[in-house]
């Protein structure tokens, strides 16, 4: 089988197309016009500056959690704890962003983001440490750490950090810590968060594909025993992989918090977006550039689905179905691969 350069793109793209086809059957079954539905969906996601801003705002943390999970996958580590790392990153970053309001933005913004990343890295490296020294499987420990993180943040926001009545929420971060706005449409603001996320993706690409460290990390993922024989310190690398993965998830939390109004820790801030990272890494096939597109796909589906609800009266469950089919087909890539092969063979015989 010839797995060329485009193969990596082909599977997700075909999966998305098949998902839309299946989705249109379901839309037909509920008595609506699929074409109208998809047009409304597309307009809802990309139809104007407001829609575009909405899509990009939602895409930003998804790129970062996707990178967090994807990075782990590349190195053979299953970081299921992006959710908790994201929450811890947002919490610690927010505390820094609230506490040092006297600093100028050029210092406070990077300081807040870095402290959020460190918090995420620390939280993830607990699982890394356990795996390296006790052999505890990271899937279990990261899931458990999610619960601890979510309960810690809920406690902090409802208790020591709480302000006002009603909603449990922290105070807003200092003005100087809010990310600069690229543009603003009514109540929707698009911050430079997306630029930070894309830079993170590029850095990760270079790190994995072009650096010695990346080579070692990939080696650990590909064959830990051979790597150890080749002189790579497995324990150190596992902790390092978890820390880097966690720092990306922590970054997702703090960048989202500083970039999306109201800039405060509010309720359950993560809202499952850490888990979405798993989906996105899968669709993006753990490739940083693929992850950017996968995050765009998921966020566009979600913003589009809101428009579908309003203008075409189609329940947003349809989006969950589409998303499910895409994941299913990407995960079971042999199905799509077989389709591609079959097409090719037909061409040859014809």
């Amino acid at each position: 089988m010839n797995r060329g350069k485009w193969y990596a793109f082909l599977v997700p793209t075909i999966s998305v197309l098949i998902a839309f086809l299946v989705g249109s059957v379901i839309i037909l079954l509920i008595g609506k016009n699929p074409l109208t539905a998809y047009v409304v969906m597309f307009q809802g996601a990309f139809g104007g500056s407001e829609q575009l801003a909405d899509t990009i705002v939602k895409m930003t943390p998804l790129v970062l959690t996707g990178l967090a999970v994807g990075f782990g996958f590349r190195a053979g580590v299953f970081n299921i704890g992006a959710e908790g790392q994201m929450a811890m990153g947002a919490l610690v970053g927010a505390i820094v962003a609230m506490s040092f309001g006297a600093l100028p933005p050029v210092i406070l913004i990077p300081l807040s983001i870095i402290s959020g990343m460190l918090a995420g890295a620390f939280w993830a490296s607990i699982a890394g440490f356990l795996k390296a020294f006790t052999g505890a499987h990271e899937v279990i420990s990261t899931i458990m750490l999610n619960w601890i993180a979510i309960n810690v943040t809920t406690f902090m926001v409802a208790g020591p950090l709480a302000v006002g009545t009603g909603t449990p929420k922290s105070p807003e971060v200092a003005e100087a810590a809010k990310l600069p706005i690229i543009f603003k449409v009514q109540a929707i603001e698009l911050s430079i968060g997306i630029v930070i996320a894309v830079i993170a993706a590029i850095v990760m690409y270079v790190l994995i594909e072009k650096s010695t460290m990346g080579y070692e990390l990939r080696g650990v993922g590909f064959n830990p025993y051979a790597s150890e024989y080749g002189g790579i310190n497995i324990k150190k690398n596992i902790i390092m992989i978890m820390a880097i993965s966690g720092s990306l998830a922590g970054m997702a939390g703090i960048v989202d918090l500083l970039g999306v109004p109201p800039q405060r820790f509010l309720g359950e801030l993560t809202g499952g977006r850490g888990f979405d990272g798993i989906t996105i890494a899968l669709i993006g096939r753990n490739n940083p550039i693929g992850i950017i597109f996968a995050a765009l796909l998921i966020s566009a589906l979600r913003t589009g689905s809101n428009a579908m609800q309003i203008r075409a009266q189609i329940p947003n469950d349809i989006v969950h179905i589409l998303q499910g089919i895409v994941i299913f087909l990407v995960a079971a890539e042999r199905i799509v691969a077989a389709l591609i092969e079959w097409k090719k063979r037909e061409k040859v015989t014809a």
Binding site: E50, D54, V57, K58, I150, N151, T154, A158, G164, T165, G166, T167, P168, K169, Q186, A187, I188, D256, V260, P261, P262, R264, L266, G267, E268, L269, G271, G272, R273, R302, T303, S305, N306, A307, Q309, I310, Q313, P315, N316, V319
Partner: protein
Amino acid sequence: MRIKLFLVIALVVLFSVSGLALRVMMVTDMGGLGDKSFNDGTWEGIVRAADFLGIDAEVIVSYEMADYIPNLSSAAREADIVFAVGFLMEDALFRVSAQFPDTYFVGIDIVPPEGWEGDNVATYIFEEQEGAFLVGYLAAAMTEVGLIGFVGGIPIPPVERFRYGYEAGIRVYEDLHGKTVDILRGYTMDFVDPKKGKDLALAQFAEGADIVFHAAGACGIGVIEAAAERGEGFFAIGVDVDQDYMSPGNVLTSSIKRIDVASYTAVLSVALGTFEPGLHVLGIKDEGVGMSEMEYTRHLVPAEVLRELDFLTEEMKAGTLVIPRTQDELDAFEVPEIALP
């Protein structure tokens, strides 16, 4: 009373003004429709008002918190009355409402921020503790083991007000009848996943409790399932809307918050031009809170307990029995002199 008055006025207005072209849109929080709790309750009131007025009502379900601002904005652009349901939407609601001065906004379980000055947002909150007081009193009367449970969602003020009232009701029963009743308290830290509610309720049943009250949104569906699974002798108590029907005979009663009254009233007030911006608090005297009719369990409750509940309701309406609405008030709560009939 208020509702009936509205109905009469509304009829008059409807006959005089033909062709009302209002459009109502409700934006749910992440719980979405089907929570059998406050999103459904709000929607029920909106639908009732919309049917009555012959206008359009639509709902937008939010998937994540980042949806609140865009969804409220799109709704404001399309509709004349926009509902924001749930305390988490507070920030989003006041941000968006400032951008659309000509649209009416209604917030359920939301309190306007301090210093807010606007004229297009009305918010409704409830004296949850008053309804919960009654179910607490009933639970204390009905428990056969002297141990009952409470399952909360996230300990936010409305959830906590349910608990304060519940605990106060238990204390009053203990005081009046000399029975000792202990309470197990737990939180699911979630309002969405029924499984979490079920696990917690089963744990409380396993610890010996025979009645569990929940104030946990959709998690509560699991609490009711847990009571049904344990079967005879075990009860759940529902919340927000009348949840007795969800598992007839296994739900002792429900602590009701008439969210539908709030949303119904709000829609009509816009239609009638009597919209009042600002905070509205609905208590037992406004028939905004209370307990269910106990359609399936009434025969299990001794007649004197029912009489006492009616009596206490009247005491609350008269203002002679004040139920604590904060932890401090609960700690300082002294059972007042009550001369049961």
